[in-house]
């Protein structure tokens, strides 16, 4: 039998990893050309980019028309314009000409300072709210979530304080998209939390009410909710008692988003270990404190991706208000296709690309911010 005894004389100190792992060459080797199949895929991807990217850039920027006052700027010789036959490119002149309409719809042009002021206040309140280092978060939140909606309501609608009344049927464009989504977000998060807590409650009536609400709203398409709110509701109301259509859309979008949010939050609540509830109980914390300080912060952190997913979905779903003849950004862009001043073969594509880009910008912003928040709140596994 061999000798099995061994005693270590000294511990090996930690060393830095091999250089090839850290260099650019090492990175390319590992990530792009690690195997035969990887190399083939890398080359195919590069070829695809080389094939599709230059024409796209050409169409969007190089061949695009940037200035002009009507459709002739974006027409070829055959179509009655000045551009060479076979030309195709984006007609940014059309977006530039219709820009105010895309942003504000038919809001009276001499009153545009009102939505612009609301937008400025919104940005001024939102930016410090999103930056963790800025102090006085409580006051900031109060102004943003309660002060701003009240301020915006009086300023945008008018009819008081000597401001001219602007009917909501004149509102449109990005303004409507943002108002609908902002109100939807601000209402759906707290409402969703309450619904989720209600659904997990021990009290049978409250629990049943929450389940019925959530399942009823989730089981119906948003279009149906909006359509019923717009067409059916007035039939049941006395004539003259009509609720504003925009308000109905706001309520429709909000309750719809709340039902979805409730289920996202419930997922988070279920992921919190029982021990957390027990520790809070054992310390004597009451239900409100337990939920507000222990359970919800952890549950919400867990489901940030789901929450933002719902926000993004709702942001895009606001386009469905077109069904009740309200014009959000996409609706107003589509409506402008029929505008005889700008009918050209490239107008629809340009308009849709513009609308898509604006939607993407906001959604990507939300997504990036949520990733930032997730990283920032990640304390649980930090070692």
């Amino acid at each position: 039998m061999s000798d099995i005894s061994y005693v270590r004389e000294r511990f090996i100190p930690a060393e830095s990893p091999p250089i090839s792992d850290a260099s650019a060459y090492g990175w390319i080797r590992r990530n792009l050309f690690a195997s035969w199949s990887d190399s083939v895929l890398t080359i195919v991807a590069i070829l695809a980019i080389l094939y599709y990217l230059p024409p796209a850039i050409d169409w969007l920027f190089l061949s695009a028309v940037w200035t002009g006052t009507d459709r002739t700027a974006c027409l070829t010789v055959d179509q009655g314009g000045a551009l060479p036959t076979g030309w195709s490119g984006a007609c940014w002149a059309y977006v530039g000409d219709r820009f105010v309409q895309f942003m504000f719809g038919s809001y009276p042009r001499d009153q545009l300072w009102r939505p612009l002021l609301v937008a400025a206040v919104f940005v001024a309140l939102l930016v410090p709210f999103l930056i963790p280092k800025v102090p006085r978060k409580g006051l900031n939140a109060l102004l943003l979530l309660i002060g701003l909606p009240v301020f915006a309501y009086f300023l945008l609608l008018g009819g008081r304080f000597g401001l001219r009344h602007v009917e909501t049927s004149l509102w449109g464009g990005l303004m409507v998209t943002l108002i609908l989504s902002f109100v939807g977000i601000v209402i759906s998060l707290p409402a969703g939390i309450l619904l989720a807590l209600g659904r997990r409650s021990q009290m049978p009536i409250l629990k049943t009410a929450c389940i019925v609400f959530i399942e009823l709203i989730r089981g119906v398409p948003l279009i149906t909710v909006l359509f019923m709110a717009s067409v059916l509701l007035p039939l049941f109301l006395e004539p003259g008692n009509n609720i504003d259509k925009f308000l109905r859309a706001l309520i429709g979008v909000s309750i719809f988003a709340s039902a979805y949010m409730a289920e996202v939050i419930r997922g988070g609540l279920q992921a919190i270990p029982k021990g957390q509830y027990e520790a809070a109980d054992a310390l004597g914390l009451n239900y409100f404190h337990k939920m507000a300080f222990i359970v919800l912060p952890q549950a919400i952190k867990l489901v940030i991706p789901g929450i933002v997913n719902t926000f993004i979905g709702m942001f895009k779903d606001t386009s469905l208000v077109t069904i009740i003849s309200m014009y959000d950004l996409l609706g107003i862009v589509k409506a402008s296709f029929g505008d005889s001043g700008w009918i050209t073969p490239v107008t629809p594509l340009t308009g849709l690309i513009f609308a898509g880009f604006v939607f993407w910008l906001f959604c990507f912003g939300m997504s990036r911010y949520s990733a930032f928040v997730e990283r920032r709140l990640d304390t649980g596994h930090k070692r």
């Binding site: 520790a279 054992a282 310390l283 914390l285 009451n286 300080f293 222990i294 649980g380």
Partner: protein
């Protein structure tokens, strides 16, 4: 087993009852977990509860701060009877601290915040004072330098000591320990037991569910052995370990003391 040192003088009140459990019964569905449990704990007394798994020892101490509800019998803690009255439950929980097998620290809060949360919101203590109290107890469990870290950055033993400090910050009259060392690495057990011993030396009323028989021998006034939801035997540690009476106790001790 670690030598825990001989405890200093520990006084047990002869007349002052801290916990009184009278004919308590509990069922999980059809399963009768606790059967006619009777237990009187005097102030300053340190009780170790032992028994095989599933014997109801954890369930029993969890009934004392109403993490579990009993269905028959009476539990009086510090003179307050536990019923469905939420006010009374909160009153009891303010006076009874609990340490869990899996620590149950709040991972999203720093060590200091873990310790100050309940004093601030339950005891309505000003934040500054709560932090002073928290630092005092973190020093007692010998980890004041970790105050601003998160639980995930600490070792198991450190986390359990924080959990003890967190309970102590509420200045409880009674402490319950539910297998506090069972989830720890062997190297960490002693530091937690040492903390518990020093707590015992100060005269804290304690009920510990534990398998640390060395701890029981040196700190407990009384060892209780449970099986099938009932108290089978109780005695002072010396007699309990050296001269067990019930067959079940003898079998249990022969299994764990090797």
């Amino acid at each position: 087993m670690a030598n825990l040192g001989q405890p200093k003088a520990m006084t047990v009140s002869a007349t002052d009852v801290a916990i009184d459990i009278i004919n308590m019964n509990k069922w999980y569905g059809d399963f009768h977990v606790l059967r006619d449990v009777n237990l009187k704990v005097m102030r300053g007394e340190r009780i170790v509860v032992a028994g095989p798994s599933g014997s109801g020892k954890s369930t029993m101490i969890r009934c004392i701060n109403r993490l579990e509800e009993h269905q028959k019998g009476q539990i009086l803690v510090d003179g307050i009877e536990l019923t469905n009255d939420l006010k009374k439950i909160d009153e009891v929980r303010r006076e009874v601290g609990m340490v869990f097998q899996h620590f149950n620290l709040f991972p999203h809060l720093t060590i200091l915040e873990n310790c100050t949360l309940a004093p601030i919101w339950v005891r309505k203590m000003p934040k500054k004072e709560a932090e002073k109290v928290a630092m005092h107890y973190l020093e007692r469990v010998k980890i004041p330098e970790q105050a601003n870290k998160y639980p995930g950055q600490l070792s198991g033993g450190q986390q359990q000591r924080v959990a003890i400090a967190r309970s102590l910050c509420m200045k409880p009259k009674i402490m319950l320990f539910d297998e506090p060392t069972s989830a720890l690495d062997p190297e960490m057990v002693k530091e937690v037991l040492d903390t518990m011993v020093s707590l015992a030396e100060e005269g804290m009323t304690m009920i510990c569910v534990t398998h640390e028989m060395g701890f029981a021998r040196q700190v407990a006034n009384r060892v209780i052995f449970m099986d099938q939801g009932q108290i089978v035997e109780q005695n002072d540690p010396q007699s309990f370990f050296d001269n067990p009476q019930h067959e079940r106790t003898k079998l249990f001790l022969s299994q764990i003391l090797h």
